[in-house]
Symmetry: C2
Subunit: 222 residues, 2 copies
């Protein structure tokens, strides 16, 4: 019988929040047991580990659960110290990293979720505009830097890069080309994908497209 | 001319988010210049310091702005180390503290805001039920502990205690008595109020009541 690892991850393949935790674990070289959850029939372990939100991802370390992806990534950074920290050591740079990760959750993500549930029309176009504005804000923040934190891949990159698996959907369903609108972000995406931690963790854009496409068909949109 | 302090706080008296940052600064013994903002005519300094959200509170330290209250409180904890840290040193305890602070922002606060904008009726009652459930979840998490983190006043206490200034409004407008429904939370509130950092920072519940009352009258509710 294979030995149980001290770290478990309860996750779902398409979850950008789950992908964040997978990248962080890979960055730190932590081995773990991956447990794919069926979101329409959640496991007892998930319900027991995250009774408040009942959501993946949940990281279980030595039997103790940690919930909410950005909190998990910070936990991984603190619990598995390494030569390559995820958050910078300077307190102001840490605050900035937390601010932009929070911006992605509070501003960028809600628009992305909303547009998937909308028929084409006025509200769809407004939401598309909002997504584009948020992407442009991120493009400006990235500027000429290699990564969001500067020379080193870190917290904001981990927070944002899982969403690049949706860029193909943006193009097909909303005629929104990140490559054209935000060339710096597109170049950053390519740089991130050169990292093994990212390449092996990201959801396949084609599979995401099939999932979104079938959901939109089920809603009678396309 | 009085010397400008190295720390400035852009804030608004009734903001529970602002109160968090005031408590944290008081806990650390940091002196600062307080600048009250007029939220219907925001200052150039606020708009320049928080161009993304354009919201208070903003902490400005050596001319550099930090936004979002929980991020500010963590920054204060890191930038002004003292014998009484706000976040615990153990990584799992830190993750739990961040989880409950996040719960307050994601679950408790939205209900509190919503109920203020509702006429009495079905939706009002549903929102009241939601607020009560969230308070009970917090009551269970507090349990028999002195503070949320155990023996020591810390991050979750700072995140939640500013909202106790609204408990009087809950009682009058929604017939929701925190003292009766959540006696442990009510006792915790009293314990927190014994701390000078809290007592001098909290908004006056009567002033909050007058504000909420006049807003409800303006909406034609009462």
């Amino acid at each position: 019988m294979a030995e149980e690892k001290e770290v478990k991850l309860l996750d779902y393949w398409a979850s950008p929040f789950g992908v964040r935790t997978r990248i962080a674990l890979a960055e730190k070289g932590v081995e773990y047991d991956y447990k794919e959850e069926n979101l329409s029939e959640k496991s007892e372990l998930l319900l027991k580990s995250n009774p408040v939100h009942k959501k993946i991802p949940v990281l279980i370390h030595h039997g103790k659960p940690i919930c909410e992806s950005l909190i998990i990534v910070q936990y991984i950074d603190e619990a598995f110290p390494s030569k390559t920290p995820i958050l910078p050591s300077d307190s102001y740079a840490r605050a900035l990293a937390r601010f932009w990760a929070d911006f992605i959750d509070k501003k960028f993500y809600p628009g992305m979720i909303r547009i998937g549930k909308l028929k084409k029309g006025e509200e769809f176009e407004e939401t598309k505009k909002e997504i584009l504005e948020n992407l442009r804000t991120l493009e400006v923040e990235l500027g000429e830097k290699k990564y969001f934190g500067g020379e080193v891949f870190g917290f904001v990159d981990i927070a944002l890069v899982p969403f690049t698996s949706w860029f193909y959907c943006f193009k097909v369903f909303a005629d929104l080309s990140v490559e054209q609108e935000c060339p710096k972000l597109a170049a950053w995406e390519k740089r991130c994908l050169e990292r093994e931690s990212v390449a092996k963790s990201l959801s396949d854009p084609k599979k995401v497209f099939d999932m979104v496409s079938s959901r939109r068909k089920n809603r009678g949109f396309e």
